[in-house]
Symmetry: C2
Subunit: 217 residues, 2 copies
């Protein structure tokens, strides 16, 4: 199916014109970002923890220390929410009230499942590594058995998903348009700086090309 079906939990109510249910558009947001905020509940208290992730088809993978509270809690199959947000711009209007942010965000509801099959787990880690740093997996030493053991991996299906986005200029009131105030958008983007090598890199090893890791927009 090319669209996610909004549920009473993911359907966008406020600003329905900002809703995105199209699968490919949602995938492109998930592919551009690499940090998600994972929400889960312990004894009625919600926790929201930033994590990296990877996407493969209609699944996302999370990983971390096999001992982490977040991972262990999620592995029990409790209700979770994974949210991914890209900030695209500051929207400066002529009135304070009309100020806004241009953004794209995805909300994924569901339960995570631990990935225990060694081959599947290996592929999931490859997916996460390459999601953050394209092509890196094949350039580095891959995990040995001990490292695999100490890493926890979770998979979450992309079933109950929606996204929301705002783009474009401020929407000022007609009566404010003549105010002597600059109004418009200041684009926001994530930039990568120049790579800084650690002291152990042999002199004949070329500097990594940071453009490989640039997120498309």
């Amino acid at each position: 199916m090319s669209e996610f079906v909004p549920t009473n939990r993911t359907g966008v109510v406020r600003h329905p014109e900002r809703a995105i249910y199209d699968r490919q558009r949602i995938y492109s947001i998930l592919d551009e970002a690499f940090i998600c905020h994972v929400g889960y509940v312990i004894e009625r208290q919600p926790f929201v923890i930033p994590m990296v992730y990877g996407r493969s088809g209609d699944r996302i993978f999370l990983h971390g220390s096999a001992l982490s509270r977040t991972l262990c809690s999620l592995a029990e199959g409790i209700d979770a929410c994974v949210t991914v947000t890209l900030v695209d711009g500051l929207v400066l209007a002529r009135s304070a009230f009309r100020h806004s942010i241009n953004y794209r965000s995805v909300v994924i509801l569901g339960k995570a499942r631990p990935v225990t099959d060694p081959a599947e787990k290996f592929e999931a880690l490859q997916c996460v590594t390459n999601h953050v740093s394209a092509g890196r997996w094949d350039e580095v030493r891959q995990p040995d058995e001990a490292e695999m053991m100490s890493t926890g991996v979770l998979v979450m299906a992309l079933n109950e998903v929606s996204a929301k986005s705002r783009s474009g200029f401020p929407i000022d009131l007609e009566r404010d348009l003549s105010l002597p105030v600059w109004a418009g958008v200041i684009p926001v983007r994530m930039e990568l700086g120049e790579p800084v090598a650690d002291t152990h890199v042999p002199v004949d090893v070329p500097v990594v090309d940071k453009n490989k890791f640039t997120r498309s927009t």
Copy 2:
């Protein structure tokens, strides 16, 4: 007090060397970022929603449509978690396992309270506006009564708070150091692009100085 007191809910267990409880350092993270991810629970399902915020002393303010589900739910005083994350770098190691992210993140637990006193609400909106876009409040038309009515504002005290940060180079195994692989850090930062005016800005109005809105690092 100059330090937050870790509780069994905010104390950092994994990588305790990454923990931050110092109030000023935590404030500086909150002041540099402007997007938070707010977690709350409805019928056992956690939701994580991106919002802008502002900080004033030992409180943060959230705002949005007075009708938004998130705001109305939080206004009831349910348990919430507000998480703020800054990404500082991609940490490229010689083994997949040792890859990491340099980051600073703050987790705030507590309950929000609606701000209803008109003067306090006005100040809260000023705080949020200037938090995102420094000095903007005094340059634009401030909210009228109808706009104030349709805006919901919440305040959350900074009581149960902790932060976590990673910085610096990858920590590779001794036996991996001789691998012919580039390793180090690629800095990540949020950049502001050139302001784009909408079509109504009078020609004699100077372009906004985007550097006013640059986040310090």
